[in-house]
């Protein structure tokens, strides 16, 4: 279960809301308009178990999210859930990977400090000895054109 965001971690002017995390309870979050640009040449990588609990993060994940590795491991991946992301996107993600297929999409992620960053994410099921044991998510730099399309599209999906 995710605890609420802490006001002392937030940088800049913020808004607050409560997110329904669908099966992981709800979470009070604070979010700002401060964007961190995706770093050139890097991949943000994480793995989760079948329930979406984080089991591995790489250094870029830590740097971009603002959380420490200890704060991330064992938490639901929805720790990054931003209120501007429509739940339909995540439903599509889970429906796709549960069919054993790759999912790809553009995602606005929430940082520990209330800021955000856009990614192009690809999620695949980790199949070992014929069984799904978890999921790997790899994010890369999205083009500004695609981000702008999502900024127009996503509010229409609520």
């Amino acid at each position: 279960m995710l605890s609420d965001m802490k006001l002392e971690d937030i940088v800049g002017e913020y808004k607050e809301t409560v997110l329904d995390l669908y099966g992981n309870g709800s979470r009070k979050i604070f979010y700002t308009d401060i964007e961190t640009p995706y770093p050139d040449g890097k991949l943000i990588v994480s793995t989760t178990d079948k329930a979406g609990i984080i089991t591995h993060v790489n250094q870029s994940f830590i740097e971009m999210s603002g959380y420490t590795e200890n704060e991330l491991i064992g938490m639901p991946h929805s720790i990054l859930r931003h209120p501007d992301m429509p739940s339909a996107a995540f439903k599509d993600l889970w429906d796709t990977v549960n069919r054993g297929e790759k999912w790809q999409g553009f995602v606005k992620n929430l940082c520990k400090d209330g800021g955000y960053y856009w990614v192009k994410a690809t999620v695949i099921p980790n199949i070992r000895h014929g069984k799904v044991v978890g999921y790997t998510s790899v994010r890369r730099k999205p083009s500004r054109t695609k981000i702008n399309e999502c900024i127009q599209l996503y509010p229409t999906l609520f």
């Binding site: 995706y38 050139d40 040449g41 890097k42 991949l43 990588v45 793995t47 790489n58 790759k102 790809q104 192009k120 690809t122 999620v123 695949i124 980790n126 070992r128 790997t136 998510s137 790899v138 890369r140 730099k141 999205p142 083009s143 500004r144 054109t145 695609k146």
Partner: protein, 248 residues
């Protein structure tokens, strides 16, 4: 019985003799007859793998999925402190300073090296470029990619980062790096096929101990390596999954 060892065709020409020296070392240490077979291109090598002609391979990460999941290969080791990274570069006098400024229709110079090509294309994606809106020109070496930029045949080059760093200073001064990947977890690996799998632990131990004596060290140096480190099965599976996410 003789076994066949092969090396990913993207090896540096400087290390050609090194791979023969390594093969001789491996035969002596393992007591197995091993023939080194080098292929001119990736397709010829993949055909040989599909025909079950290969028992040991220093493999490009792009081919790891096929080797492990279709042909039953297992990882042994990888070179310490070496990962496959790519660089996107243009001519130094190009007005472009960022991938986002590149326009559709440009000529992109690449080698056949599949993992570097994949990583490079991902970095170009940030500029809304993909295989459908660029002209891809294949060259036989990283030096020829540099020449293509300097001669204006290509607008952008995708280099193996190590090969770019090894270009002469004169050439590098005439080029401009737009972006360098920092992925760290994509690497070539030495892998063992089903026919030799019974000796996996033994051969792995020989390789891991290679930097402990002068002879082994000198063989490693002829390959441009300092040491081998063990690749666990799950580490290989992780890299295969990661490569899989990059291919679409």
């Amino acid at each position: 019985m003789s076994y066949t060892f092969t090396v990913s065709p993207d090896f540096s020409p400087d290390h050609l003799s090194g791979w023969y020296i390594f093969n001789t070392w491996l035969q002596r240490q393992s007591g197995e007859a091993i023939h080194l077979e080098l292929y001119d291109n990736f397709q010829a090598q993949r055909d040989a793998i599909q025909a079950n002609k290969i028992d040991l391979i220093y493999a490009n990460p792009f081919d790891a999925a096929m080797l492990v999941r279709e042909k039953g290969f297992l990882p042994l080791v990888r070179a310490w402190n070496i990962s496959d990274e790519a660089i996107i570069a243009v001519s130094a006098d190009s007005p472009v300073n960022d991938v986002a400024e590149l326009l559709p229709g440009i000529n992109v110079a690449v080698t056949e090296d599949p993992d570097v090509h994949t990583i490079g294309m991902i970095m170009l994606e940030a500029g809304d470029l993909d295989a459908s809106n660029i002209n891809t020109r294949f060259y036989n070496s990283q030096v020829l990619i540099a020449k293509s930029l300097l001669q204006g045949e290509a607008d952008v080059g995708i280099f193996l980062a190590k090969a770019f760093d090894d270009l002469s200073n004169l050439t590098k001064k005439q080029l401009k790096i737009l972006v360098r990947s920092q992925i760290s977890v994509i690497h070539h690996s030495l892998m063992i096929g089903p026919a030799l799998a019974g000796r996996r632990d033994e051969i792995q131990a020989l390789l891991l101990a290679m930097n402990n004596d002068d002879k082994g060290k000198s063989v490693l140096n002829s390959l441009g390596f300092d040491a081998w480190i063990k690749v666990e099965d799950e580490e290989m599976e992780f890299m295969i999954d990661l490569m899989d996410t990059l291919i679409i």
